[in-house]
Amino acid sequence: MEIKEIENQIVEEFDNFDDWMDKYTYLIEMGKSLPLIENKYKIDNNLISGCQSKVWLHASYENGKVIFTADSDAIITKGIINLLIRIFSHQAPDEIINAELNFIDEIGLKEHLSPTRSNGLLSMIKQMKLYALVFKTKMQNK
């Protein structure tokens, strides 16, 4: 599925919730089904800097697509990163680099986007795009 389609799908899922509590309950559920990073990659080098919860992110490259796995010590953060993985994982580097990600605003999680908000949603997106760029450059240099 294309990034835009997955974004729309997520927006639709969140449209079902009238109040914040259902929305966060859903995020917590999403957190529980996060594609978990392998233990050997759960190292300080793979930590995304953010001051409140820890996020480990790993990326690999298979058949022209980037595959992400992650973990966090906070469950809401895991839910948010799971949304990002649904969108970015198994996509081509160019798709990831150029994605605009309007869904965050639409599902009412914009408050998590401010640069100082310590779950580091912005840092996660930046790091994922950076991985995509690295894989793209590597392929071009081959």
């Binding site: 917590i28 409140q52 469950i75 310590s118």
Partner: protein, 406 residues
Amino acid sequence: MSFDVDRVREDFPILNQMIYGKPLVYLDNAASTQKPAIVIDTISKYYSGQNSNVHRGVHYLSMMATEAFENARKNIADFINAKNSNELIFTSGTTESINLVAHSFGRKFISEGDNIIISTMEHHSNIVPWQILCEEKNAKLSVIPINEEGEIDFEAFKKMLNKKTGLIAITHVSNALGTVNPIKKIIDLAHDFDVPVLIDGAQGISHFKVDVSELDCDFYCFSAHKMFGPMGVGALYGKEKYLEKMLPYKAGGEMIKKVTFEKTTFNELPFKFEAGTPNVAGVLGFDAAINYLKELSIEKTSTYEEEIFKYATNALQEIDGLRIIGNAKEKISIISFLIGDIHPFDAGTIIDKTGIAVRTGHHCAEPLMDRYKIPGTIRASFVFYNTKQEVDSLVKSIQVVKNMFE
């Protein structure tokens, strides 16, 4: 007369609002307190009728502004019972006050091989300036350990103190635990060795009477915005005998007596440390906040705060699985806690959605969190405009968190 909290709340325009459709419950007072209308009006009045640069002009507005500014200094110096108002330096806040001492006192009085003593419960602002100084001077930073309750180990402190100790820098009240440190005991002992003591008073001064002459501390640092005044302004109290010998750490206008290209003579206290145009509106707002506190009477506000604090501590302790971090015998206004295994970030996100402002994270005290081997805490901090109903709202909110995560 008892303390009329409903009346007092009317003084704070911000408190009367809805957050996510729920009445705001503001329990992040240790980060910054709200401002009474008198402070807001004073600042607005200054800009609409008095604005002018201080200490320089001979014209009417400048003289009026200068007079108000210097009266504020006298008033604030008097509030902490400083012997002389030239011992009160205006800064941008506690952080700058500590940095001023680290630079100006540190450069002059700290030498290679000296040790500077701090405690495990310090805010980063009272750790990092000393770390930088120690590195520069090849001095040693000694850290007083604390026990599980969050109290400093006084015996360990005694052993650290010796003729090579250059300074002790310690917080009056821990911003993360609420512990009130025995600073009078520390100062008296330090003075037996002729060692000066700096107190980080950011969390203390709004909650109880601070008398720098009685404490006999050598430096006391505090911020206006944590005591109902505006942001961006604070003060450093310093004993004249040290301030006189210290060199300025900022250079520019105001701090000079005479400038030629060959040589500059510095101005006298307190102006020597106040280079550049000061935050006049901020200082006047600070002054208004002090007057407001005086009018309420700090004896009355602290009695009421103690009541709220005890009520909150008891209510939180009754919640199954809730663990309070820091249970010092001498403790005020701040309760740091964890709910079961729930990450403070998760809990804080949900508590926010219920209209309650608490702080989550490491509270700029990472070494302290490491001491307890926790990623951070949820911190509720109270002042005199908080109510028992607000505590009840927090308890309900914590129940919501528990239902969602457990």
